[in-house]
Symmetry: C2
Subunit: 212 residues, 2 copies
DNA sequence: GTCTATAACTCGATAGAC
DNA sequence: GTCTATCGAGTTATAGAC
């Protein structure tokens, strides 16, 4: 009974497989496929190098598992928001909200995806990305309708989609640069990211106001 | 005379040092410091591995030269635009214009900078970035003034600066993803990037219109 | 399942001939 | 300056004991 309680309070009941995966996750995201070393991963997992191969056979396979997990964490969020039946304005606000939430939970995710996708595009889209990418067709149709109805300023829908993603994701990938250029300390940058959702949402809606 | 003309028509008068540098440039930008191999660079340069060390001593030094060259190509553009005396509206338009021009000439530059800056931030800012980063203070002051005068909608200046950079740079770093998600072929994506300057400029100015 | 030991290989760097 | 040959460190991967 006491033992059960303890194991519930401290659920460090991680299997070796999990410990390896977590260590690999952290290091691959930080250093990429080429930069991360198997020895480092073993050390961080607190086990021996040979065990990495016992559980995952090769470095490539381990990397694939990690990369897939990262991608598959984000994809459903996108799909849900892009394909929902909400009206456009609400949809944009919710998209910005959950996209920024997602990135704030995994701030290195966008850099990881950008790096690996550009370094090995074929491998990335064939082996790691899911067969069914979330497509923004519905979103784009809604934009076209809103433009036709004069509810928003005339914009190219594809550019608008890219603009929204850019405003959400870019600050996280450019964080070190921003910190240097804007001269922000750790505390100020934290405040900056806290304001980000509001700023972005307002910026987008302001840009979409119909011309008077 | 004939020889001179020929050498003018085909100025492949590249020194070995230059050939190495160019090959290294291409491979480092594509694969990063860890991903690019000295053997590959030598092969692409059409010379022997030993010559890489003869001219550049170590891989790290070669990488530093390439990275510095890339950075120093962009920095003056930023400095000139950020510190000019032009009025705000003109400044924004010119910034977008020359920033996108710069990236279109070197489409892999932003990915390279983002990857390396995030993987080795200390090395990046201490050894590669110039001592005097172009700072946007003047630009930010102009934004504050325009807000105070009611010429533009009230915005946080730092967020606006980041927004402008995001809208310019992000599509290039996310290019493979965009291509997949929006389902564009090579020709369509080319057209997309051609429209980009206009779209971005209009988007920013629309977002800055004062509230009625 | 987990470990030690080591094989097999890659890669940056150097020595030395030309 | 340029090449061939090779060293030596570091890395992935495996063999085999426990």
């Amino acid at each position: 009974m006491a033992e059960q309680e303890i194991s519930q309070q401290a659920p460090v009941q991680e299997t070796t497989e999990q410990k390896i995966f977590d260590a690999a996750h952290e290091l691959f995201v930080q250093k990429g496929l080429d930069g991360a070393k198997m020895q480092e991963i073993a050390d961080k997992a607190g086990i021996n190098k040979a065990l990495l191969h016992y559980y995952y056979r090769t470095k490539e396979k381990l990397f694939e598992m990690v990369a897939k997990a990262i991608i598959h964490q984000g994809v459903p969020v996108f799909r849900k928001k892009l394909e929902s039946d909400k009206p456009l304005e609400e949809k944009i606000a919710e998209f910005v909200d959950s996209y920024i939430d997602l990135i704030r939970l995994n701030p290195f995710m966008p850099v990881f995806i950008i790096s690996e996708m550009n370094k090995h595009p074929q491998h990335f889209f064939e082996k790691i990305m899911p067969a069914e990418l979330p497509k923004p067709q519905k979103f784009i149709r809604q934009i076209e309708e809103a433009v036709a109805e004069g509810r928003i300023r005339p914009v190219n829908p594809q550019h608008l989609v890219v603009n929204i993603m850019a405003l959400c994701a870019f600050p996280f990938v450019a964080r070190p640069m921003m910190q240097m250029v804007l001269g922000l300390n750790a505390h100020e940058i934290e405040a900056f990211f806290k304001q980000r959702k509001t700023e972005v949402t307002e910026f987008i809606f302001a840009a979409l106001r119909p011309e008077s």
